[in-house]
Every structure is written in structure tokens, then in C-alpha cells.
């Protein structure tokens, strides 16, 4: 299944001009626990086009949220930037295949 079908909501947003953060909201604790195991940082980093070692991962239990933050390849608003607020990166994660 796709992550977009398994997660309650996925959003991404710029966090200052040099970082983007993606929040994966899970429906409940069970979904959160399962996704914490199935969703690999390597796969997320690859989808976002960022090195795994620069990708920060946070698992926030009381919110059932898995959060990834990564440095932008192109700083916000620079000539080659395509999405000022970085809000479309979420769709890359939504398209990730999650093994059963």
C-alpha cells in the first residue's frame, strides 16, 4: 500500500529558508507503531532526494506523528527553487510503497 493510504494526513512545510519538514500523522497508536517499523528513513530520504545521514527523524508518541526534516537542496526562493514553501514534498511521501 501507499503511505498516503495508510497515514491520516501528510504535510510538508518550509522550516526557515534552508530546511523542510514533513509530518506523517497516523490515525491511532496502532497505525503509528506499525508505520514506525515499516517506514524506513532510507526510503524517505531517497524519495525526497536528500542524503539519509542529513535526514532527521522524530517519532512523537503522544501525537502519533513521524516527522522528517531535511536540508533543502536549493535554498528557499533561490533561482532554481520550484516550491517556495516546500508544501508539495508531502506528495512524494504519499506515493511511497509500504510493504505489507
Amino acid at each position: 500500500m501507499k503511505l498516503g493510504d495508510l497515514a491520516h494526513k501528510i504535510r510538508s512545510k518550509n522550516a526557515g529558508p534552508f530546511w523542510v519538514s514533513v509530518d506523517v500523522f497516523c490515525e491511532d497508536e496502532a497505525a503509528f507503531t506499525r508505520l514506525c517499523e515499516k517506514l524506513k528513513t532510507e526510503a524517505v530520504a531517497q524519495a525526497l532526494g536528500t542524503p539519509t545521514q542529513l535526514t532527521k527523524r522524530f517519532q512523537i508518541e503522544h501525537l502519533n506523528v513521524i516527522k522528517f526534516s531535511f536540508p533543502r537542496r536549493i535554498p528557499q526562493g533561490s533561482r532554481l527553487d520550484r516550491d517556495m514553501h516546500g508544501a508539495q514534498f508531502s506528495h512524494l511521501l504519499a506515493g511511497l510503497d509500504i510493504p505489507a
Binding site: 512545510k13 518550509n14 522550516a15 526557515g16 529558508p17 534552508f18 530546511w19 519538514s21 509530518d23 524519495a47 525526497l48 532526494g49 532527521k56 522524530f58 512523537i60 503522544h62 501525537l63 506523528v65 516527522k67 526534516s69 536540508p71 533543502r72 535554498p75 528557499q76 526562493g77 533561490s78 533561482r79 532554481l80 520550484r82 516550491d83 517556495m84 514553501h85 508539495q88 514534498f89 506528495h91 512524494l92 506515493g95
Partner: protein, 438 residues
Amino acid sequence: MRTRVLIPSGVLGLGFSREALARGVAAKPDIICIDGGSTDSGPFYLGTGTSKYARATCKAEWRQLMIARAALGVPLVIGSCGTCGADAMVDWMMEITRELAKELGQSLKVARLYSDQPLERVKAAELRALGGINPTLRGNIVALAGAEQMQAALETGADIVLAGRMTDTAVISTLPLMAGAHKGAAWHGAKIGECGALCSTNPTSGVVIIDFDESGFTVEAMEEGATCTPHTVSAHMLYENADPFILHEPGGHLDVTQARYAAQGRRVRVEGSAWVPSPDYCVKLEGAALVGFQTTVLALLRDPRYVAHAQEWVSKLSAFLSVQISEHFSGESAVEFRIIGLNATLGDLETGDAIPNEVGVLGIITAETQAQASEIAKFINPHILHFPLTKNEELPTFAFPYSPAQTDRGPLYEFTLNHVMPLAHPMDAFRLETEVLA
């Protein structure tokens, strides 16, 4: 001792519910705090020293807040005036304040806190890199003030403080800190409130009140029906934050790892956050500088064959133009095409492969002058209108949505710094002025 802070909205210019503001005023806050800016909208505003929001909108909202302030007899403060917080924008807010004071018949003491950084100061400083960019020491630079500078402004006894660039949080945390509130709570509550009612179930209503005391803070949304829940409040720490537990400020950082969120009716009580002082005092710098001028050109491809081969068509067109432009034009320039409908948003990261009905081909030309960018766009014009996919075919004609097909976009700015600057004394990089409007 309790300090009650009224926050009308996340930023001046975004709007707030008047009814909610009235309820907030009735709750008799000790101060009204609002943010005026952010880098959220990109480098243009700092590069030009201008506001993202319309003057008329800002003035209309500031009028409401000045009326509320006069009724309460408490300070009204705004941080990061005019989006970028440059000196020119502090003066812009001063002009608006002056007009309103006259229109409303108010006598006021106004403090202005300036954050612009002369290049010489930044060049002489031992900057510490936060990563992501090599410093470029030109263009406009501001430093983000913290609670120490806002405290200096409040201690002048000003009725209104117009601050240049400062952290969104320090606008709110300063008075509670001065009153002896729990330091972790002061900064955490400020972070929760900095976007107004975004921490509630009704984000667009704007107005929230936060009570700070010696052990924590309590947040409440003022709009009828809007509720703060432990979930809406704690989830706000995720928003626009690379790290949901740590927030760096001048002089230290906030750590909310141990924070506990408890529902109290429609309010939320938060305790357990910690303030961790740093060994030295640093302020973050923001810079933006001119890197060129742009002209765009847009053509629409509807022919199914061209739509199916849009990427190939753009590659061939780019190769052709690149040779021609280097022959006909001197000076540095760059031409980039984005295929709207295929991958304009995500570029090489795009994984979708659906073929759309049509695609837009957006050409972005960047050159050293506007005239040159415009000239290159004019040169590209007939080619982007008629360029054939193969040599031996009738010349196609694509759609131009308007005349002329090219649009001058003006100057392009880029962020130039992601650094902090150590200061021996917090006021070393900031300037404070007061004025009485009678």
C-alpha cells in the same frame, strides 16, 4: 504573578475576528503582542526592504489594536515590522502609527527597535555557520533580536513598541520573563502563541490569550466555539520547526521534551518545558542580496503529440536556444524551462507519469539587467511559439495566453546567510529610539 498576553493573530495583515478581539480585550491582558514578519515568503522582502502585506490592510488592523491598547492602557508591541523587519519597515510602521495617532486623537510614547546590520559589523564578526550556505556579505542584513532587546524597549515606558526583525517568540515571551514567569514556559507559550489561533480548532479566528506564571502557561482561544486541546497545542510544535522539541533563541534554547499538556475545559495548561541558557550570547542573521533580473515567457502545448513528447521538445528547444543565445548575447544569463503538467513543482523528484490534456511551458530567463532578460525573452518568443519537434514537419503554433507572451518579473534576490553572530552585549547590534506623539 500572572502575566496575561493577548495575541490578535499570527501576523499583522492576516486578519482576525473582531468579536474574538473584543473578548480578548475584555479579559484585561497586560500586553498586546503581534508579529509582523517572517522569512516564510522568501528573500524578496528582505532584499527590497518591503512588506508582503498591503499597507491598507496593516493600517486597518493596527487601528483596531491601537484602539484596544488605548482602552486597556497597556503596551502594544509588534516584532519584525513589515515582513522583513528592516529599518525601513520600522519607519513604515511608524508612519502608519503617526497617521493613526492623529486620526484617533491619541497621545503616545513610541519606541523603535532597529535590527539592520551594517556590512562592516558583520564582516568584523566571528560568524558561526548553521550550514546550508556559504556567506555572501552584501545586500541587506538583519539580526534577530530576542527578549533582551525587547525588554530594553519596554523599559523605556513606551505605549507602543515597533521592533525590527526579532524572533517570533521573543515578541511574546519578554513581558512574562520580566515579570518572573517560568523561563521554559515563557518561551514555550510564546512558540505556541506566535501563530495566533493556529494552535486551536479554529486557526483563522486569530485571537488567543496566554497566561504565564511561575510554573507554566495556559492558552485559550478567544473565538466562540474555538477550542485549544492538548493535541492542537502540542501539534503546533511541529509546525515550521525542523526539530519539534528544541527551539533556539538568542541566549539559549527551549527544550519541550518533558512538557505535559493538560485540558482544562476549553483551555490547555502546559508545564515541564525547560530553558537551557547558552554559554555565550548569539543572534541569528538573515541576509538577502540581488542576484539578477528575470523575465518569464509562457507557452501552452495542446497538440496531443507535443504533449506526449513535451520533455523531449523542451530538451531540443533548450539545446537550440543555448547555442543561439551564446552567439547573440554577451554577459551572464540563464534560461530554464519548467513543464507545468509534468514536473514543474518537483523536478527530477517527480514520480507521477500521467499524460495531461495540455502542458504549460514556463521559461524563466535570468540576466544581469532587466533589459537583457527582456531582450533574451523576445529572442525566445518566436521559437517557443513555433519550434518543431522534428526537422521535417510543418511549423506548429502553440498557444500564448496573452500578449506579449513575456513578463518582466523584476529583480531576483537570494538568501545569503544562515549564521549566528556572537555579541558581548545584547544591545551591541541593535538601536533603540523613542518618540512622543502628542
